[in-house]
């Protein structure tokens, strides 16, 4: 027995000595399996590409452009005169519908935080590729071009929602945590210059067959919109032309094909996450029973279409029971998974470029050219040429046309009313909760708490 104890004791001493002598390296741990050092990510095109494509998934699932109810297609539809919310408990759309947003609104906070997170990821791509030793020049151009486009796109939407906002171009958290606002006018300049760079870096041809990654034309499509919003009409019509001149790539489809994956009208769309999935828009907007559980189209929108408008019959669905009649957007039709994905969320499409050029031409005095573009969109919808004659009539006709063409697509209605100064006159009448300060959303309370340079809060909150 004694011998046993002694042996145990020696064994213990021995193990202890061994362990202690090896303690130098004891604290070294390997990277967790799911993580990769950032520097390594940008030394391999496959991983660098994975980092870039993740931003698109992120944009599709979170923040401003997501097709879920949290995105602006739904929320700004409610905020204006496109959609009406059912006042069921926990329906977050109600606050948008009643124009009663508070600085603590989580959806609005999501717009802000998700967008800046996506911008960070884009900036990380730009910085990472610049430092990279192994990526080829072509690869760097592709990655940087897309990242620049993403950065511009998000800043553009943030400016539309919040007004003056910070323009973030790097990943330095020290700098970015005390950053100040940039005025919308300056933002437009910066975004434009980034987009010009992006359109030069990106190729004309899409890298994939379904147009889910932007090409140089996508950057130009956003640029033409920004010029229009900035009232730089000559640049806007030139830029729209450079998109529309690519006729072998882009054509207006018939109304039943506009929103299909294979639509040749699409300039850029966001792919569904899983093969067979379709759009989040279809899932959110579609309902089969009345009363609608979440949101439905307003009667004022539905009734404003001219007779024979194919968009009224093809892009809107009526659900009724007895005397109760409700409508939902029916641009995207597949609210369930299909064997092969049939629809993706389209962010840029050709019809908008015609409408941009029409408006830009009208303000430049080219009424004939404007009507020509406007009629392209009308004719496609099964309508006759416009009856508008004067400049003012055409302008009015364009606003109506935009309402009918672009409803519940990424907040176009709100942005159009806002840039034309019509918010108060249109919404002030139709919505009892409307105040003129509702033209801007509240900056998240937490942002103001953490960064005083973002003060003051937007008026009215």
């Amino acid at each position: 027995m004694k011998a046993f104890y002694r042996i145990t004791l020696y064994a213990l001493f021995l193990t202890t000595t061994v362990i202690i002598s090896s303690c130098e390296s004891f604290l070294e741990v390997d990277l967790p399996k799911s993580q990769l050092a950032s520097s390594a990510v940008f030394e391999d095109y496959n991983t660098a590409e994975a980092a870039l494509l993740n931003i698109y998934s992120n944009i599709r699932d979170k923040g401003i452009l997501t097709g879920t109810g949290q995105g602006i297609s739904n929320t700004l539809g409610n905020y204006t005169d496109e959609l009406v919310s059912s006042e069921t408990p926990n329906n977050f759309s109600v606050n948008f519908y009643k124009n009663s947003l508070l600085p603590s609104n989580t959806t609005v906070n999501g717009f802000w935080n998700a967008s800046y997170n996506q911008i960070y990821a884009a900036n990380a791509i730009i910085e990472g590729t610049e430092k990279s030793q192994n990526l080829t020049l072509e690869q760097k151009k592709q990655l940087q071009g897309e990242a620049l486009f993403i950065r511009s796109l998000l800043h553009f939407y943030l400016a539309q929602l919040f007004g003056d906002i910070p323009y973030i171009t790097d990943t330095d958290y020290k700098k970015n945590s005390s950053v100040s606002k940039t005025s919308v006018a300056v933002l437009y300049e910066k975004i434009s210059s980034d987009l010009k760079n992006a359109s030069e870096l990106l190729p004309l041809q899409y890298l994939d067959q379904n147009r889910v990654r932007p090409n140089s034309i996508t950057a130009k499509a956003l640029l033409s919109r920004i010029y229009l919003y900035a009232k730089l009409y000559e640049s806007a019509s030139n830029m729209a032309s450079s998109v529309l001149n690519q006729q072998e790539i882009y054509t207006l489809e018939t109304t039943d094909k506009v929103f299909l994956v294979t639509s040749r009208e699409t300039i850029w769309q966001l792919q569904a996450g899983v093969a067979g999935r379709n759009t989040a828009e279809a899932t959110y907007f579609t309902f089969t029973t009345v009363p609608p559980p979440q949101v439905s189209l307003t009667g004022s929108l539905v009734n404003s279409f001219e007779p024979g408008d194919l968009r009224r019959s093809g892009w809107i669905k009526t659900v009724s029971k007895n005397t109760a009649v409700f409508y939902h957007p029916f641009k995207y039709k597949e609210n369930n998974a299909t064997t092969v994905s049939k629809e993706y969320s389209i962010i840029f499409r050709t019809a908008e470029q015609y409408l941009i050029r029409a408006e830009a031409r009208v303000y430049q005095g080219d009424l004939i050219g404007a009507k020509e573009d406007l009629n392209k969109v009308r004719n496609r919808a099964g309508l006759n040429d416009t009856s508008a004659v004067t400049q003012q009539e055409i302008i009015t006709a364009l606003i109506i046309e935009r309402r009918h063409e672009l409803f519940t697509e990424q907040g176009h209605r709100f942005f159009d009313l806002k840039r034309t100064g019509m918010l108060d006159s249109v919404l002030g009448d139709s919505k009892s909760g409307w105040n003129s300060t509702d033209n801007l959303m509240p900056i998240p309370q937490s942002e103001l708490t953490l960064n005083k340079n973002l003060m003051p809060q937007n008026p009215g909150y």
Partner: protein, 1007 residues
């Protein structure tokens, strides 16, 4: 197998002892007979019974004064007999009792009742982790509860057992759903990170990680992710020691900043083999409901809101007022959803015993608890434990092994109905159709009970095993190694079946979702130690050196599946058409340390205790992995000085003080690395990579400096014993997830912040033995803590992200509020103080009134009364604090309100406490309500006095002395006295079930 042989050993020893005793009695008689003859002094036989007033005491030594050879020991019935002369004096002594001197005075029957000697409590050895120390010679601050306190409580969580019983330890229950968690703060909040304040848990020498398991995707029933602490079974605990000051915690270095919780499990004791069976059953209910509006009040509010908003007609969607729903219907939704009774059953059994060299204990327990929600939901927990101690014949080699295995199974609705119970309009439709299926009232509401179909299921298995091997090389030098292993597996699922939707929506099982989370955690620890101990003439020196090597591995795999052919296949991931891996990760944490202790005891009066530790942790970047911590403690037992030695009133007096440093590395793994993480999202066929975090490679340990001075005084043989301690802890180098504005891309970054947080406080404990009579005893234990928390310094607070969160000089648990002024009599909107006088209520200028949520003082009063065989134990817990009222949203919308809101403004000139109703169209009223929830009006007194625990037990008299039968009734949270209007005052999370009141009845049988 081993068990069996140890058990046999035990029996054998038991027989030996018994035989020995028989022999000793016979020899007493023999000797006396011999003496009688030899000295010719008249001797006679004395008999009697020794008791403690209610029970006989076996094993008591009875000697005759000045006659060394005359000795007897009482038997199992407390009876003894010995011979003595009529003039002799008997000396009756027994550990734990005062030695009694009894004059025989010619009697032949002398019954002795011994008085419990509280002074011996000072002889109890207290576990201090790497060493144990005699209570009287302790230099550090250690609070303690034992199995006696735990047994009286019908609770399943280890933290619940300590609630209200320890000075300086504040514990709050976060949800009443079984399997939920508790929040513990030992001497206040040290770290600015709310998640960086958990203490270190050590079970029998093995660190037990309290980091939450489960996933935010699955454990939605609780306000926080599942806590592994539920795996600790209170039934198996012998004692819990909480180390508080630097002297006690510095030896735990980087992990001691927030205190250390040492849990010692029950061990076998030398003696006969003992069986113990405990069973109880009981019921739990919600303590407080909110006073909500009834249908009449509610509809009146709604209709007024439409009038106020100038709306002439109700919209087709306003079902509650437009006639779609029955306007005379009334349902008390709180009663409907939370008014159930939770059934509780508990069973545990142990067998223990052993010989002089080997002791063992084996036990098992089973516990189930249902919920107060409608539906069949059950939490159950089963556990087993084994402990074996062995020592060699020469006592040089010692071996101890203990292991515990726990299985928990929990099935809860994944959706807490508390929110619905409070907000649903009181005239909302019936839950069920006459046919018994869920009523959807033509799609005009979402039936809350449909949410019960979304279930949360959790299975957790955990194992803790520990071995201590020690060898005494010489009388001074001994070597010891502590080896430990823990392993934990947690499988959680949450299902969101298509049946939560109105069937008329035609949502099919193709849309049902399954979330699965598998967490695995295993750790090992090796701690070799050498102890050198030497007694000198008037002093003793005790030196300990040791080292720690610890490694912990965490695996987590979170998946979601959707697209099922049938809801009956929904729990099978393989049946899902689309499976997504949300996260799949493995992390490793390594830790090593060297520690030491020097304890010098001079004249048994002056005690110096020095401890130190050098720590290294893989959680820090290469340059910052190591840090040193140390502390010194000193105690002076002045009652042993000559000038007090013969004091009649002062039985014990000690002054102790300590100062030292500890640290904290609770920041999660790999935070210093700049990495990308695989995301679950796929785009264009490629799985994405996302930036993991903003990184900072240079963050370092958080340092906590602790100072304490205390006096411990015992009066009248310690019948009154009091401790007064004052402490001051300063935490600096704050390791924070520095909140960042969203413009940085993330919400936080790990960094050291040169801010100093100070916790100081006064802790008082008082133990009094009010009565110690033959048939009646009454002892009282009081603990009281005055705690103060203060942000001492914070460089550039004004320009930092914390500028509107903290104020220098104020506690860190504050919120800045608007100052509420009342309702404007003209427009009926809440008004607030316009501090900067710009005519607007703006943030942050007007949101500057400090509201402090930390408790001002808290404590407990525990009384134990024993009358003959009846024993009553009760504990009142009290907390002086403020809390927020329950936010119900703007009044007038389609959501119920507190009854008090009926008193609201409806025309100019009205003077009312509540503002104008609105259906949601009155922007000013919405803003008013929003500001109200962030104003001083939302702060209310949430102090309470609560009958935390009451236990009544009766020891049934049985003929067989070795058998004990006890009948018990126990209650938890039975009474609560509070002014707090919004439900239970002890709540932290909105919309979750508050703690329950529980009453159980049980039987304990020992034989």
């Amino acid at each position: 197998m081993n068990n069996y042989s140890f058990y046999k050993d035990g029996k054998a020893l038991y027989c030996l002892i018994f035989m020995g005793m028989l022999l000793s009695f016979s020899s007493v008689c023999a000797k006396n007979f011999y003496r009688n003859n030899f000295f010719f002094i008249q001797q006679h036989q004395i008999q009697g019974t020794i008791s403690d007033g209610s029970n006989p005491l076996p094993g008591v030594t009875i000697t005759v004064k000045n006659k060394t050879n005359s000795t007897a020991i009482s038997d199992y019935n407390g009876q003894y007999s010995l011979s003595a002369s009529p003039q002799d004096t008997l000396i009756v002594s027994f550990i734990g009792f005062k030695t009694a001197l009894i004059l025989v005075k010619g009697r032949t029957k002398v019954d002795v009742q011994l008085i419990y000697d509280t002074t011996t409590l000072q002889e109890v050895r207290v576990n201090a982790g790497y060493y144990s120390v005699k209570e009287s010679e302790r230099t550090g601050s250690i609070a303690r509860i034992t199995s006696k306190d735990i047994e009286t409580q019908p609770v399943t969580n280890v933290l619940a057992t300590m609630q209200g019983r320890m000075a300086g330890v504040s514990i709050t229950q976060t949800t009443g759903v079984p399997g939920g968690g508790f929040d513990i703060k030992i001497r206040g909040q040290n770290s600015l990170r709310s998640e960086g304040n958990t203490p270190l848990y050590i079970i029998d020498g093995v660190p037990f990680s309290s980091e939450s398991i489960g996933s935010a995707q699955t454990s939605t029933s609780f306000p926080t992710r599942t806590s592994p602490l539920n795996g600790i079974n209170p039934d198996t605990i012998e004692s819990i020691e909480i180390l508080k000051d630097a002297d006690a915690t510095s030896i735990y270095g980087s992990r001691g900043a927030n205190g250390v919780v040492l849990i010692t499990t029950k061990k076998g004791k030398q003696g006969r083999t003992k069986f113990s069976i405990n069973t109880s059953t009981g019921a739990g209910r919600v303590t407080h409901f909110l006073k909500l509006m009834n249908t009449e009040q509610y509809l009146k509010m709604r209709k007024q809101a439409f009038i106020n908003d100038g709306l002439a007609e109700y919209s087709p969607l306003d079902y509650d007022v437009n006639g779609t729903w029955d306007q005379n219907r009334y349902t008390n939704w709180q009663k409907e959803f939370l008014g159930g009774t939770a059934q509780i059953t508990d069973l545990n059994a142990t067998i223990s015993g052993g010989s002089e060299n080997t002791q063992f204990l084996a036990g098992g327990s089973y516990h189930t608890q249902s919920t107060v929600f409608p539906g069949d939901f059950l939490y159950s927990k089963g556990s087993g434990q084994i402990s074996i101690n062995h020592q060699s014949n020469d006592s040089k080699f010692k071996f101890s092994f203990s292991t515990g295995y726990n299985i928990q199974s929990n099935n809860q609705p994944s959706f807490d109905l508390t929110y619905d119970a409070r907000s649903l309009p009181p005239n909302a439709p019936a839950l069920f159709n006459p046919g018994g299926e869920l009523n959807w009232e033509n799609g005009t509401w979402i039936n809350p009970l449909a949410n019960l179909n979304t279930e949360f299921k959790s299975k957790t298995n955990d194992l803790t095993a520990n071995t201590i091997i020690s060898y005494e090389i010489s009388s001074a030098l001994s070597f010891k190694t502590n080896l430990g292993y823990t392993s934990l597996f947690n499988d959680e699922t949450r299902v969101v079946p298509s049946t939560i939707y109105n069937p008329s929506l035609n949502v099919t099982s193709a849309s049902s979702i399954l979330f699965v989370n598998n967490t695995g955690r295993s750790s090992w620890i090796v701690e070799p130690q050498i102890n050198w101990k030497k007694d000198f003439e008037s002093s003793s020196l005790d030196i300990l050196v040791g080292s720690t090597f610890q490694s912990q591995r965490n695996n987590r795999n979170v998946q979601s599946g959707t697209g099922f052919n049938s809801n009956s296949l929904m729990y099978n991931m393989a049946a899902a058409r689309v499976i997504r891996v949300l996260s799949n990760d493995e992390t490793l944490y390594k830790y090593q340390a060297f520690f030491g202790r020097i304890n010098y005891n001079l004249y048994q009066r002056y005690i110096l205790n020095l401890t130190a530790r050098r720590d290294g942790s893989s959680r820090f970047g290469p340059r910052n992995q190591y840090a040193n911590f140390g502390a010194g403690g000193f105690a002076w037992l002045f009652s042993k000085e000559s000038f007090f030695k013969n004091s009649k009133w002062l039985s014990f007096g000690k002054i102790r003080t300590s100062y030292g440093t500890t640290g904290s590395d609770q920041i999660g793994d790999y935070q210093f690395l700049d990495t990308y993480t695989t995301s679950s999202a796929i785009y264009n066929g490629i799985t994405g990579l996302a930036p993991s975090r903003l990184y900072n490679a240079d963050f370092r340990w958080e340092i906590n400096k602790k100072f304490e001075v205390a006096a411990e005084l015992g009066f009248h043989q310690d019948r009154i014993f009091t401790t007064i301690a004052w402490y001051q802890n300063r935490s600096s180098n704050q390791l924070v997830g520095l909140p960042l504005p969203g413009t940085t891309g993330f919400n936080s970054i790990q960094a050291n912040l040169n801010a100093v947080v100070e916790n100081s406080g006064l802790e008082l404990t008082l133990r009094t033995a009010n009565f110690a009579l033959k048939n009646f005893s009454w002892t009282t234990n009081i603990n009281l803590t005055f705690a103060k928390n203060k942000l001492v310094s914070f460089p550039d607070l004004e320009t930092s992200p914390y500028s509107e969160k903290y104020r220098i000089g104020s506690p860190i648990n504050i919120e800045l509020q608007y100052n509420f002024k009342g309702v404007n009599q003209q427009n009926g909107i809440y008004e607030f103080e316009d501090k900067n006088g710009d005519g607007l209520i703006t943030f942050p200028e007007d949101k500057q009134t400090v509201a402090d949520f930390s408790p001002k003082y808290y404590g407990g009063i525990q009384n134990q009364l024993i009358y003959k065989r009846l024993s009553l134990d009760f504990l009142f817990q009290f907390v002086k604090q403020k809390n927020k009222t329950y936010p119900m949203g703007p009044a007038g919308m389609m959501s119920n309100q507190q009854q008090r809101i009926v008193n609201s403004w409806n025309q100019p000139g009205n003077s009312t406490p509540y503002q104008i109703y609105t259906t949601g169209y009155n922007d000013d009223a919405l803003t008013g309500n929003y500001l109200l929830d962030e104003s001083t009006a939302s702060i209310t007194d949430a102090s309470f006095i609560r009958l935390k625990n009451i236990s009544l037990s009766y020891n049934v008299p049985l003929k067989h002395n070795e058998t004990q039968l006890k009948i018990m009734i126990q209650g938890q949270n039975l009474l609560t006295f509070t002014k707090y209007p919004d439900g239970d005052p002890e709540f932290l999370s909105y919309g979750f079930l508050p703690p329950l009141k529980v009453i159980t009845a049980g039987i304990q049988l020992i034989f």
